[in-house]
Symmetry: C2
Subunit: 453 residues, 2 copies
């Protein structure tokens, strides 16, 4: 299951074969799907429905009701909600009439719905496709059309109760989907804002500096710092001060202790409120039985979108690489957005909201699977390596094998994973055969022995 909860998060890569066919297929007759999209065949659809069934069961257990909104919205509805990601919005052609755009997520349409229907409390879920002109979509392993499963609680309630429920829900769903290890990173927009204040960032630059921080899951600090200084004209001293803060991550207890010991933090109204919120959130999560190992407090978590106002979180799948658990992709994200409904309501009526969006695709993570297979081969003493690129091109990987004299390639893709097989490819003869996933070590050993003779 690869996921696309967030345009900013690293994704588990998709099948290199699948990724290249549409690009290099029969251009003449244009027998292809649009870039960044794909068909779901019967098998994939069945898997997806099975997965969505589990997600829906969790949503319903929390008392959420399904709603549905149009696939496109007036362009104005989406304008000014997504920060730097607004450029990824698909617009419809002006065919004489309204100016429309495809929905970028399910959150903004939900807020528009709440305002338009004059709703003051609702707990809803919505499972539907969203559209992002991410570019280059396929090479980063991202789709331009993908499903999101959103759960949101709208209404004025006691602090952190709905927020904690969202975190709990994410852990329930990820556990139910049996995706392996995961962690929910948490942070708070007011903590980030307060840190920016403390570090001397001008108020009007908060959102754009926040966008820079958001890139820390993909880029090293040095790059982000350069962007802050060169592109966003931040004082280098302020950037360095931010750098000290966003390094801080750990268990909720550890990070809360660090922050509470910091006089500047506790004197700033924003950070103080954020710290108190997180403290309450963590307390409630513990009471609801969320395993503390599933929660990590990470001051570098920023979330890309403009509309968050409070707690933010992001769930990351983990895979064991040698002795370490490493993040292999974001699968869910969300947070509190208390002002979005008010942006739509004609009378500015505010309806505080918090929610979470889960990205579900019927394909098991290929990077994760690749690492598992590698581990087994290494443990069995078989020389093996893989491309360190999340989604290197299929043909260039084979070329590498030829150049290096590597005789055997293991090819995996979504369909192979679903069927519990891998393809063994003889690099020289180009012959492929499918073998059971469970027999990899013995089959590879046998073939290598044969090739050596």
């Amino acid at each position: 299951m690869a996921t696309e909860a967030d345009p900013k998060a690293a994704l588990i890569n998709v099948s290199e074969l699948a990724a290249q066919l549409p690009e290099e297929g029969q251009k003449k007759v244009a027998l292809k799907v649009p870039k960044g999209t794909r068909d779901y065949g019967p098998e994939q659809t069945a898997v997806r429905e099975h997965v969505l069934g589990k997600v829906i069961a969790c949503f319903k257990q929390h008392g959420a009701q399904a709603i549905d909104t149009p696939v496109f919205e007036l362009k104005d509805v989406l304008t000014g909600k997504y920060g730097e990601d607004s450029k990824l919005i698909y617009d419809l052609k002006d065919q004489g009439g309204e100016i429309l755009s495809l929905r970028y997520d399910l959150t903004v349409p939900f807020a528009r719905y709440v305002a338009m229907s004059k709703i003051s409390t609702i707990k809803r879920y919505h499972i539907a496709k969203v559209y992002r002109r991410d570019n280059p979509a396929m090479t980063r392993g991202r789709y331009r059309e993908f499903y999101q499963c959103d759960f949101d609680i709208a209404g004025a309630y006691d602090p952190m109760l709905p927020d904690a429920e969202c975190v709990k829900l994410v852990t329930e769903i990820l556990t139910s989907l049996e995706l392996g290890e995961f962690v929910v990173k948490i942070n708070h927009r007011k903590i980030l804002d307060g840190i920016f204040e403390i570090c001397g960032v001008p108020a009007e630059s908060f959102r754009c500096i926040c966008s820079s921080v958001d890139k820390l899951d993909k880029s090293p600090w040095e790059e982000v710092r350069t962007e802050m200084i060169n592109e966003k004209h931040l004082d280098p001293a302020a950037a360095d001060a931010i750098g000290e803060f966003v390094k801080i991550k750990g268990t909720s207890e550890e990070v809360l202790n660090i922050l509470k010991a910091n006089e500047a933090v506790m004197k700033n109204a924003n950070t103080k409120e954020g710290v108190e919120n997180i403290e309450l959130l963590v307390k409630y999560c513990n009471l609801m039985g969320v395993d503390p190992k599933h929660v990590s407090f990470d001051l570098s978590l920023a979330r890309g979108l403009d509309y968050y106002t409070g707690v933010i979180y992001e769930a990351i799948l983990l895979a064991r690489q040698k002795d370490k658990l490493v993040g292999v992709g974001s699968i869910a994200g969300g947070g509190r957005y208390d002002t979005l409904v008010g942006m739509f309501d004609p009378k500015g009526r505010h309806v505080p909201c918090v929610g979470v969006s889960i990205g579900v695709e019927p394909q098991k993570g290929l990077t994760e699977e690749r690492l598992k297979i590698l581990g087994q081969l290494w443990d069995a003493g078989i020389n093996s390596e893989h491309s360190y690129k999340g989604n290197a091109k299929f043909l260039s990987q084979l070329q590498y094998c030829e150049d290096q004299g590597i005789p055997l390639a293991i090819v995996i893709g979504g369909s192979e994973i679903e069927r519990g097989v891998v393809k063994l490819r003889n690099v020289v003869t180009k012959q492929e055969e499918e073998i059971s996933r469970n027999d990899i070590v013995s089959e590879v050993t046998k073939r290598l022995a044969a090739l050596a003779n």
Copy 2:
């Protein structure tokens, strides 16, 4: 449940109130959904899911598997498939890249999928929204975004076996949905083509004359005849000859007998093949237990789309108006399209297909409901009337009541029907109250008596 199986078919009208709110709502903040679309709240979504569950159960009983395709396709994929309806296709803006359009139906994407995946046999279903820039959408009671439930059988099989299964399936679904009386009109593209030949229509005009015939469900023959002669430059004698044929409708037996007694028909290769096909289709339907009252052979049925090549059918819901059953809307349509996959396949590989598309909307037909209520009021001796327009504006209907001194208006909409109530509105005081649907006669009688005093 109103339906939108076919852009050409009359539809049960939707709530006049719902239709006007988006148009006349708060324009200033653009708090609206795009023209011709709407949100589904939790109640409507639950109803829709209940309905779709029944449809899916029928599809699965016939062994169909679900697939899913992108919401947009390369524009070229859709070009040349929809005849005069092509102007209703939504295009995406050219943002630098491929030229894309939203899907207009699920059939063309299915054929593209079959060609692209090199499939030779599949029985699939697909339930998803399709997009049509029908204009003026709301005033004709049509949506621009609506769900279709498609079932198709691709593969070379013995004549009429898959076709008969589709007709049988439609009767199963409509029975399961308890929508009241219905009839499946059948016809055959080759019968139409043969009739055109017999009547002296030039071969290159077959498709455009077929489009004119397709309008007979909405327009009187005289209008269609004028269009054929003035816009499509058909010889008046040919038009008149067509007019004699397209009048023919009745039970399958009746119409088959008329055609088989016609020497010109039986000498024409096309009509002869069509008649033999329909004879076989009817025989198989009877064997599978389709009640003959549910099938009507109607030579005026043409279906708008270019891609049909054989049997065509359309299911119409019926409502009792006085002593007569009258059609109140198309709910399903389909037919055989044997050349569509070949149009996509790079090698022109042909995969014959037949299918049916069911339009399901979670709203009971308002016209139908209106007629039922009127019947009860008349039977109870209460003076009452209604607008003969399928979807007259709410305010103009109230204005009419005022002008005519009609004291009481009954207001119904989707939500009222779902909840088993109607609104009674005092035209003068503008006060409204909800009463149970079952108490209409007694409540109206009581109020009219009170008003008369």
